[in-house]
């Protein structure tokens, strides 16, 4: 791609990454959450692949690293689900405790970040999983359809 496209992709990728992490972290206060933030991050990776070519991106971002990220996201999600097993599976055991345990006032309010119980951690886990999964799909399909010819 031309010089203008590569320069603008270099600048815009920072804003896209920050925006996607903001959507993931504030999932319990504003619209958004894990799935939406992961999809925004994957579209940032799509911008990089289109601007620089999939061979250049494959030199530094291999599927092996993305597989580790996705597996760790899934394991954190299941570990948090087992954390409240004293009452029931998937119990919100952090409401009322000092970590992320404030109760917001009833009705419309300004939004306090330290509320939500176990929901912010679950947002992070699902965000990691969706981010790594959709980026792996994009990378593998872009590599396979540009570097190999029709066999037999």
């Amino acid at each position: 791609m031309s010089k203008i496209v590569r320069t603008m992709a270099n600048i815009l990728i920072l804003f896209v990454l920050t925006f996607s992490l903001y959507i993931i972290m504030h999932g319990h206060l504003t619209p958004g959450g894990g799935f939406q933030g992961g999809a925004v991050f994957a579209s940032g990776i799509a911008l990089l692949i289109v601007a620089f070519g999939s061979d250049n991106i494959h030199k530094s971002l291999k599927e092996h690293h993305l597989s580790i990220l996705e597996s760790s996201g899934a394991l954190i999600f299941i570990g948090l689900a087992f954390g409240g097993l004293a009452t029931v599976f998937f119990y919100n055991f952090l409401v009322g405790s000092p970590i992320f345990g404030h109760i917001p006032p009833a009705g419309p309010n300004s939004g306090d970040l330290w509320t939500g119980g176990v929901i912010p951690f679950m947002n992070l886990a699902v965000g990691l999983k969706v981010l790594a999964g959709l980026s792996a799909i994009l990378l593998v399909m872009a590599l396979a359809t540009t570097t190999m010819e029709v066999e037999e």
């Binding site: 899934a74 299941i78 917001p104 929901i119 679950m122 999983k129």
Partner: protein
């Protein structure tokens, strides 16, 4: 013969769809006992301001677990289909 069977079955199916669109509840006034309870009690039971995120991760966490499994299986299938064999030269 095949075209006639296709047109007949498709027209019966679309007739049922349009009949269902007329017999459903009026648009804008849904029946809602469960959702009234969820809107009342989200803030003091889960502590989140966002009722949709509370439903996805707290009141219905099992659906999110199943959906995470589906995403994991689909990514595994795609990466496996595009692997390159190492050729002995």
């Amino acid at each position: 013969m095949r075209k006639f069977a296709m047109v007949a079955s498709l027209s019966i199916f679309i007739a049922f769809l349009i009949a269902a669109a007329f017999l459903i509840h009026p648009f804008g006034y849904p029946p809602s006992e469960m959702d009234d309870y969820i809107i009342e009690n989200t803030q003091n039971e889960t502590g989140a301001n966002n009722a949709v995120t509370a439903v996805v991760f707290d009141y219905r966490g099992f659906d999110t677990l199943g959906e995470a499994t589906i995403l994991f299986t689909a990514v595994t299938g795609v990466v496996m289909l595009f692997r390159r064999k190492k050729r002995e030269k």
